[in-house]
Symmetry: D2
Subunit: 344 residues, 4 copies
């Protein structure tokens, strides 16, 4: 496939370039950048010098698929012409994730520039909608937090085993905030520090809610989503708390075993989702496309607790985008994504 990457100089774009470099069917033919147009890619980003490309102001070559790694709003504007022209598009921004234009306007503060496309775009959480993604021409790649939260909740929500009041306490590395400068990503402010943010509502909440609703008819989730910034570059850990529905299991011990079996079965065919027997560590997914999940039940309170980890730039962004591309082009889902985690 001939591939274009819009905004290769952001972190998701850099990661796309890295992953696609080892993809046997991928040929990146054109890359753009917001700030460094005209520069050699290897001058702007020395570790990508081997690609031998120039950063262009726009995609100039004929391509089979375009990845956009622009921020929201800018991304929709860049993607729409390609969608209209019949080129497959995978948008890593949030612009095509919310199907309701009113919800988009509420959370992003602008009217959506192409509301008709919200109806046809497919939410690209690979494991939960392989058929939809395979058939899509416009895939909205999920946010990093929602990927972890939805994979952590899908088995129990779709089986009707948890109540609608759910808490997602999320911890993320700093790269999720991107390459733009801010006091909140300044080294001396972030290092040796941890704090909550987004207490009045984080933009990943509506996509979590939207997708949970799709999992089970009549399920009307009430999600408290609280992210925290921690001093590391990559990685997300979502700790999910929920009440099991009354009578779902005969005992707490039965529940503990039951949810483990349910998750193992639910993800038995997923090459990148692994149900593990102990709390997973983000380092176990550093640089690769895995999501590790550990579901358990707190024996003292009977509450369900699910831990899910992933690399926010891989399974939470560029890796899942490539996984989706594979499906869209009829390739095995894991093509080009064989990289194991870099440890330590």
């Amino acid at each position: 496939m001939k591939i274009g990457i819009i905004n290769v100089t952001g972190y998701a774009g850099i990661e796309l370039a890295r992953i696609l470099h080892r993809h046997p069917e991928a040929d990146v033919v054109s890359v753009t950048g917001r700030s460094a147009a005209g520069e050699e890619l290897g001058d702007a980003l020395p570790h990508l010098a081997r690609l031998g490309m120039t950063i262009e102001p726009e995609i100039t070559k004929s391509v089979d698929v375009v990845f956009s790694a622009l921020p929201q709003v800018a991304s929709a504007e860049a993607c729409v012409p390609f969608v209209r022209a019949g080129v497959k598009v995978i948008d890593i921004s949030a612009d095509f994730r919310l199907h309701d234009p009113a919800v988009y306007a509420e959370w992003y503060g602008v009217e959506h520039p192409a509301p008709d496309l919200l109806a046809t775009s497919v939410y690209g959480l690979t494991e939960l909608d392989r058929a939809g993604i395979a058939a899509a021409s416009l895939v909205a790649n999920p946010g990093c937090y929602p990927t972890a939260a939805l994979l952590a909740l899908a088995p129990v929500v779709s089986e009707g085993l948890v109540s609608e009041r759910v808490i997602v306490d999320a911890k993320t590395g700093v790269s999720g905030a991107g390459r733009g400068l801010s006091m909140g990503t300044h080294f001396s402010e972030v290092n040796e520090n941890v704090f909550a943010y987004g207490v009045d509502g984080h933009r990943h909440l509506p996509e979590i809610t939207q997708e949970l609703r799709r999992m089970r008819a009549g399920f009307e989730p009430s999600v408290l989503f609280q992210p925290h910034l921690i001093p590391m570059t990559r990685g997300i850990l979502d700790t999910v708390y929920a009440d099991l529905t009354d009578g779902a299991f005969a005992s707490v011990e039965a529940a503990k075993a039951g949810v483990r079996d349910l998750y193992a079965s639910f993800y038995a065919d997923a090459p990148f989702v692994h149900v593990v027997g102990a709390p997973p560590q983000t380092k176990q997914t550093w640089g690769n496309n895995d999501c590790l999940i550990h579901p358990t039940v707190d024996t003292r309170t009977g509450r369900l607790v699910v831990f899910a980890v992933l690399d926010n730039l891989v399974k939470g962004a560029a890796g899942q985008a490539v996984q989706n591309m594979n499906l869209m082009f009829g390739l095995p889902e894991s093509t080009g994504l064989e990289q194991l985690a870099i440890y330590p």
Copy 2:
């Protein structure tokens, strides 16, 4: 006061030495160490060379108060003789926190060596029991997690405003695990990593439960306490989730304002607990004795969320111990603890 420090070579002991060095009424006359007995303190710990002391195998001088910074079990053994001899003791370990010997045995796996003292020891969370501490001869200094969790919950629990099912999602730096070597504190394993631990029950849970019960007659807490290790040296952030009791407030907005006022009022006279208007950062307490608390209500779900941060080695250990010492000797609570946070 003439002071002895048992196990000055652990992190809590090091911190005691540092804080007491600037305490105008304190005179540290004897320090012991488990591993370095006989060495000059300045050889084992160059930054303490200025104290000009020798690490002794036992407290050899007459003292007015002894701090123990030993791990549990060993600490009880070291403290008991001083208590029996009428010397005031502040134990930073967990050995005298749980008043029920059966609960101690359940969580620590050994019979308590001096169960009679469990009845007379005072749980030293300064802000919640100043009178008790002032009158005590044996103070059990609280754990770092419980200090944050209990300060975060005290106003609403004592007023009967929250239900009994509470979640404490805690994030801690690595120094809380002490100076003992383990794979879980090995730099290359912990750096760029985050993970949950203690999923089957952490030893700080029973003291949280015990002290919550004391806050309000009939309150029978059901606490889910889940700690996580994050890649920094110092600092704890407890994120506490609870349901407000039905009808406690007229509306979500009223609740949001109401809890803020309640907390501000509750801690109006506490020199080290500050109710702040935004999520606090652990860095804002780095190296000092403050606990910053931000209570709020999630407007979408109506749930109470309280964020509390502190330095696990100061307010979570050595600083609170000195705060308690001040009360025990009739000094102003903040004597010697004027140090502002080191930022950044």
Copy 3:
């Protein structure tokens, strides 16, 4: 003393506020900020809320001494009026360090706004010019790198024991770059990374050269100064390499012992410079005013190697500024600077 701090919102200014808060003779009466004028100090910087001050656009109160924590050029402009008015000034910026206006213009790219003051300002490396500082009305506080390098070299240069070709390989934490945003201080770019910078000449070089010349008549230093950025917030380690002059010592072993004795003797009366028997660690000076030095001779090559560490924001900036203030007002040098290092 009544004190004004210009630009309290930068890292050096924050540190001044922290240190002076515990100084028994200091009364900070007015603070200014470049960005947050009009705000409460506690809103801009919650950990300083206890000071109860408002950030002003200019120093509004009568003061005995002004500290400037502005960047160069801006600092000179702010300081000059106070100097002209007879108020003692301690400038933490580089503006009054270089006595030759031509050298200033060469390195800072602008003409100095008050070249006459360059003749009267005193370079404030406390241990090397106590008398000069005590008599000064305008003290130019040294840079963080030069403080470590000059303390590391003073004993051997003043005794004529080393050749003029010196290498200073410096490693610094990120806070030395200040609070201004840049890609080079963006967390995700700096974390898990190390690199050299300033290869074409760093602005701290001319002050190192200027001050080395003053140490010994006829000594004409040829210094290669190479800084490196490392992923931590605070701390500087200067590793200094030099050749011993021929015949200075009878043997390599004699040299090793000889330099140790020389340094110990040279700094015998310095309360903040400690000659230690092993390579010092920056953590041993975290948050305090010490400089630890370990001089040795490499037995295989016969070369002198000196390691010097300090906290770039304390002995490398605000702490040394307070140390100088003490001398200027006839106080003991260490007043208010008793804080031990925070470890770990």
Copy 4:
């Protein structure tokens, strides 16, 4: 090729497993571990679960090549039987690097168990001895520091352009110290800290000296090698200082351009050594096999300064080992090593 890995549970072994997993010609058939023999590899190291292997006490299968990732001394003992049996061996430890048994005994404190093999082993710094490695049956993989230092010096030493007195000031991440526990790798001690170590001589010095001697007849190096530990997991930066020989270049500017051209030419055919135009960053090689080098001349002192970075576990260990294996089996040098750096 059928491959055995001895000690897959150390960091170099883990890295070998990761790299070989994507090597198109490699088939890892047996892995051993010192501590976890009998365990499933995925239990000991969850991110390697995909390999589906069991950790064995010894290599049990017939193999074409064995990698040893054991520490020195233990490694020689494990490798010798394979060498005697005619199996190709790549030893990542230091055991076969030094050709002189007396030097080995001096630095490692034991007699070498197979001194005859020191004569036939080949020092595996790929770029400097491709023919020798291709023909070898026992390759001694270089240390991480020497790889960077020797690549940084080879062009100028072999051309006779520098004097024999060389300084290598090295900065390393913590993973170079391996997975064994020690106070010097304890998170709270290392984080926010930098310090020198090995001041009385580091074991990588003799291999640097040995290999520099081979570069030019009569060159008798006098190397001052000083390593420093910095708070990151991976990466090495060697800063090399040397005097250019008199008259080597017409001017400092000519020298600056001349060394750049020399290095570019020297490494023109090396797929993993890149001569870059600015000081390289370790992050630019994170997780891949590159070594980036920036040679320059300090215009003020005329001294040569060379910066070289690499990932100590890849080009400094497992990656170079695979690069050597490729040569030994007639494969293109970069087979299986196409991974770009993970950035950020």
